[in-house]
């Protein structure tokens, strides 16, 4: 703890740490000093002069946001002199603020207004000046009215700190203005639309477009819940008026939330939402009542079970539902239907990495985003953080501002790789060799923790295996000089607080092992890795047992005791249960009925034409979802689902923290758990819950809350590095990877139904080319192009991506036809598709969409 000093503020004596700003010390003493340019999370500039105070013995007034306390300092924040100075500055600002609070949406939340009111300023005594700027209403996210701007510079500073750093003051004096380079609209300036500027603007200059004239500050109801996009699980506060979302913000104005969090919620209110159950009649999905739909589903499932046995039915769900829904869904299948055929998107989105990580290091190794911000060395493996898990990306940026060194391993350039100290750009799909190389260098440079490695039984075996791998092989496979690997090893090995970050869905099972080895070799068994997760409840979905082979609490399906039988009051099936791709394989033969919740296998699963064929051979398909997905279109019955913004319950984020989800809106349909429970009741398996809280209670009685368990003894993972994807060859000469983009998300279901989609070329339906590749193929931006793999072909648009190396193509994961090209080969152990790298051929032509 730093040294304390004593200061007296308005007669109140308090002790604060040395180096505290006067304005902060006052806050600790419960005294708010008016301020406009100052913002807790940003560096002070002392420019607005509203926070002036008197310091005893000093001459003149002092900006309390710029001056630190000294021991024995006596401060007065509210003398007549201070008030007069403050009044002068506020009146000057008001003379340059030609707005009327009447119709300003910041009315009631405006700091300028608040301080003017508190000082009793009714009008400025100076002549009014109207800069006469045009209001920028050219994007549907942020309305920019610089006539109301008071030049406090908060937006400029926060854009530098956690945005894309695209705005700054331009010109001088009275014509000073905040602008993008060349004063272009935001959407043409590389803005990432995190909206941080919006959140810190103290006046009405920056306002959410969605809320303009839709409800005033005091009419808003606020609900704190969790974002439904990626696995960061950011806390969002939804402000609603009359049941309509007006805006989403962080809990505190400085909290970083990404474009999807801040602006991407509007899919919830999309007119494409399914609000009534649909039953297929004469081949056409027709609106029906909830009661009838439940009745039909129950009858058909009972019928199939009677004729073909419980194992002829399967269930599959997304990884974005609450724990309570995931738990209830698997309980319904296992105890209600009597089959272990239950799987989820978790299997496609990092389950292999998570299970390997757990085996190697246990959960104690997982850090928080706050830890990332405080680290001194970060090693990023295959993770385009700012696109895929933006909040983690923001934490890394903060770490960099704090002085952290960053090593990036990625075959393509990313926003973070551009800021990194070292960017290793290996040949695509050669990460395992890179990681093995780093391990070798760590040993060679004597950077390993000998005391620790001695305790590991298989260290010798591990070392021997590494010795067997030639440096030349590594250099050849990775097309990377070992000097870079040595530099990476030195940076990582010599760091004090080091963290390895990786995309759980983008690293191979073997890479995961090697990442664990790097941590182990340096004795970093605790707080050393952050697996980045794409889905809002990936870990919860696994932990709730919505995964073939695992019951709730990650209990293996063949090792469960009697407790499940007792509490569920049913005998339970003996089989391990079919995984997703196994179910697909058996559709039409042994699997005849499917129940899908919040997932779109037909579009998502690799080799989607084959998957669609399999689904069409089912006897009965019921889909419960918020949109009419490709899978839903094939269903016999479609039940409306609820979004996370309409749900209550819990989810677990990538920090392994459980977060509370609260409904900000009345659900358009029933909550998902109610639909499952009603169906179960109808099938004579009672599920009487009065609310999701009761489900949570049942879960708690069965399995402990997910917590970070630590391991006592560790073993190295002995790995022989290989390439896991499809290698390009003569027929399919290009490598294609699928990945996240800044404004698209996962299968695109949500972002496509959001205003965000305008920010992606063709709503994300494009393929990215290295400009040289494009040139050699005579392709120009926007051209139609035919891309073929061993599974199928699609026509899409060309986009130039300078971030790609030659020979590598990129397709957004939100591309509507992403499943067509991918391989459905599955990992024999974990049954997880290895669809990261796809060999494709490209030819110009086809009709561009």
């Amino acid at each position: 703890m730093s040294d304390q000093v004593t200061v007296t503020i308005n007669g109140k004596e308090i002790k604060v740490p040395e180096g505290t700003l006067i304005i902060q010390a006052a806050k600790m003493a419960g005294i708010d000093i008016p301020h406009l340019c100052y913002c807790e999370c940003l560096p002070s500039t002392g420019s607005c002069r509203v926070c002036l105070v008197e310091v005893e013995g000093g001459k003149g007034l002092v900006a309390s946001c710029a001056q630190k306390v000294k021991n024995g300092m006596v401060v007065d924040t509210d003398t007549e002199k201070v008030r007069e100075a403050r009044r002068f500055v506020l009146e000057l600002i008001l003379s340059n603020h030609p707005g009327d609070c009447m119709s300003c949406d910041k009315n009631g939340a405006c700091d300028l207004q608040k301080y003017a009111y508190e000082l009793g300023i009714e009008k400025t005594s100076f002549s009014m000046k109207d800069p006469g700027y045009d209001v920028d209403r050219s994007n549907p996210f942020i309305e920019r009215n610089y006539n109301l701007c008071i030049l406090c510079g908060r937006c400029v500073r926060i854009c530098k700190q956690q945005g894309a750093d695209i705005i700054d003051f331009v010109k001088r004096g009275m014509v000073t203005k905040v602008a993008t380079p060349m004063d272009r609209p935001l959407q043409e300036s590389g803005c990432d639309f995190c909206g941080s500027c919006l959140a810190v603007c103290p006046v009405g200059a920056l306002v959410e477009v969605d809320r303009r004239f839709c409800g005033r500050e005091w009419e808003m109801k606020e609900t704190k819940t969790v974002c439904s996009y990626c696995g960061c699980g950011c806390e969002l506060v939804f402000s609603t008026v009359d049941g309509q979302i007006m805006r989403a913000t962080g809990e505190v104005s400085c909290d970083y939330i990404c474009s999807k969090g801040r602006f991407g919620w509007d899919f919830v209110e999309s007119s494409e939402r399914i609000t009534k159950p649909l039953i297929k009649k004469d081949g056409v999905l027709t609106e029906s009542t909830y009661e009838e739909a439940i009745k039909v589903v129950a009858e058909r499932l009972i019928d199939i079970k009677k004729k073909h046995g419980a194992n002829s039915i399967g269930g599959f769900m997304g990884a974005g539902n609450t724990n309570e829904v995931a738990y209830l869904f698997q309980k319904f299948l296992r105890a209600g239907i009597g089959t272990n055929n239950i799987d989820s998107s978790a299997r496609f989105l990092g389950f292999p990495a998570l299970i390997d990580l757990y085996e190697a290091l246990r959960d104690g190794a997982v850090v928080s985003m706050k830890d990332v911000e405080e680290a001194d060395v970060l090693l990023l493996v295959n993770a385009d953080l700012t696109a895929s898990y933006p909040r983690v990306g923001a934490s890394v940026k903060k770490a960099i501002l704090n002085g952290a060194k960053v090593v990036v391993i990625d075959s393509k350039k990313t926003e973070i790789s551009e800021l990194a100290d070292l960017h290793i750009e290996p040949q695509v799909d050669s990460e395992e060799f890179v990681l093995s190389g780093i391990l070798k260098e760590l040993l060679e440079e004597n950077l390993h923790d000998e005391k620790f490695t001695k305790k590991c039984k298989n260290f010798d075996e591990f070392k021997k295996s590494l010795d067997g791998l030639k440096v030349e092989t590594i250099e050849k496979e990775t097309k990377t000089s070992k000097d870079f690997l040595k530099e990476a090893a030195k940076l990582y090995g010599e760091g004090k607080k080091t963290i390895i970050l990786f995309g759980a869905e983008t690293v191979s099972s073997q890479s995961m092992g090697l990442i664990a080895d790097i941590a182990l070799l340096t004795g970093r068994t605790k707080a050393s890795v952050l697996p980045c997760l794409l889905s809002s409840n990936l870990r919860g979905t696994i932990y709730m047992g919505a995964l073939a082979g695992f019951y709730p609490g990650a209990r293996r399906a063949n090792e469960i005791g009697n407790d499940f039988k007792k509490i569920w009051e049913r005998d339970l099936p003996d089989e391990m249960g079919l995984s997703a791709m196994e179910m697909v394989e058996n559709m039409g033969s042994s699997v005849l009925g499917m129940y899908i919740v919040g997932a779109d296998p037909v579009a998502q699963f690799p080799n989607s034409s084959k998957v669609a064929k399999a689904f069409s051979s089912l006897d009965f398909l019921v889909v419960q979802d918020v949109f009419l997905t490709e899978t839903a279109k094939m269903a016999d019955v479609v039940l409306p689902g609820a979004t996370l913004a309409e749900s209550n319950g819990t989810v677990v984020n990538l920090e392994y923290q459980t977060k509370e989800v609260k409904a900000a809106l009345e659900p358009l349909a029933k909550p998902d758990w109610e639909t499952i429970a009603d169906l179960s009741e109808r099938m004579d398996y009672t599920m009487e819950y009065s609310s999701e809280k009761e489900i949570a209670k049942e879960i708690k009685s069965l399995v402990p809350i997910p917590k970070k368990i630590e391991k006592n003894t560790y073993d190295f993972i002995v790995v022989k590095p290989k390439k896991s994807g499809e290698e390009p060859d003569g027929k399919y000469p290009y490598a294609l990877i699928v990945g996240e983009t800044s404004f698209g998300f996962y299968d695109g279901q949500r972002t496509r139904n959001s205003k965000l989609s305008i920010l992606e070329l063709n709503k994300g339906n494009y393929a990215g080319f290295n400009p040289e590749d494009a040139e050699s193929l005579s392709l120009k931006e926007g051209d139609a192009v035919l891309i073929s793999s061993r599974r199928g072909k699609i026509t899409t648009s060309v986009k130039m991506l300078g971030s790609l190396p030659k020979g590598l193509l990129f397709m957004p994961s939100c591309h509507e036809e992403r499943g067509v090209l991918a391989s459905d080969n599955v990992d024999s152990k974990l049954k997880s598709p290895q669809h990261r790298l796809i060999a494709v051929s490209v030819s110009k032509g086809g009709a561009s969409k």
Binding site: G46, R49, L52, F126, L151, R172, T176
Partner: protein
């Protein structure tokens, strides 16, 4: 426009120079305050000043001295204060009598064609882009001659007529 010896105009030009060159713009009281003073001084040089304007200038400069961040702004404010006290009479003349003895503040002044000097050549009428000058060319021996005159309410004091008059008949009064 040249300041010549008019203290109001000198002060205005000093301040304009300050806002364009020296002012860093890093603190609002200096940036906004000096600009407001420019407004007030411009008002005065245009003959639109009111007696409270002197008080306003006094106040703004005092406040800037109290609240500005650095010496530059404070010094500028001190300059204004000095000018206000040293040249009180000139400010009053501009405000009360709408008159600039130094004839620097053109906006207060009227352009007028001195009929004693005017030769009725018509050159001024030709160059006036505001159609502010009327009159006819002199036709000898015609009794009902229409002399040239300037409709001040249309005149913008642009000075073009001044430049073309060969006999200096156009006077600023």
């Amino acid at each position: 426009m040249s300041a010549n010896g008019c203290s109001v105009m000198i002060t205005l030009e000093f301040l304009k120079g300050f806002t364009k060159d020296k002012m860093c713009g890093k603190c609002l009281p200096c940036m906004l305050g000096t600009e407001r003073m420019v407004d007030v001084l411009e008002r005065i040089t245009k003959g639109e000043g009111e007696e409270e304007d002197v008080v306003l200038l006094e106040e703004i400069s005092s406040h800037i001295i109290d609240t500005a961040r650095c010496k530059l702004g404070k010094d500028a404010a001190v300059f204004i204060k000095d000018s206000l006290s040293s040249y009180k009479g000139e400010y009053e003349e501009h405000i009360k009598e709408k008159h600039c003895a130094q004839k620097s503040c053109e906006d207060i002044l009227n352009y007028w064609i001195n009929p004693e000097k005017c030769t009725s050549c018509g050159a001024c009428k030709v160059v006036c882009s505001e159609d502010a000058i009327v009159g006819d060319k002199m036709i000898p021996y015609l009794s009902d001659n229409k002399p040239y005159y300037i409709k001040s309410k249309k005149c913008t004091n642009c000075g073009k007529c001044l430049a073309v008059c060969e006999v200096d008949a156009i006077e600023i009064v």
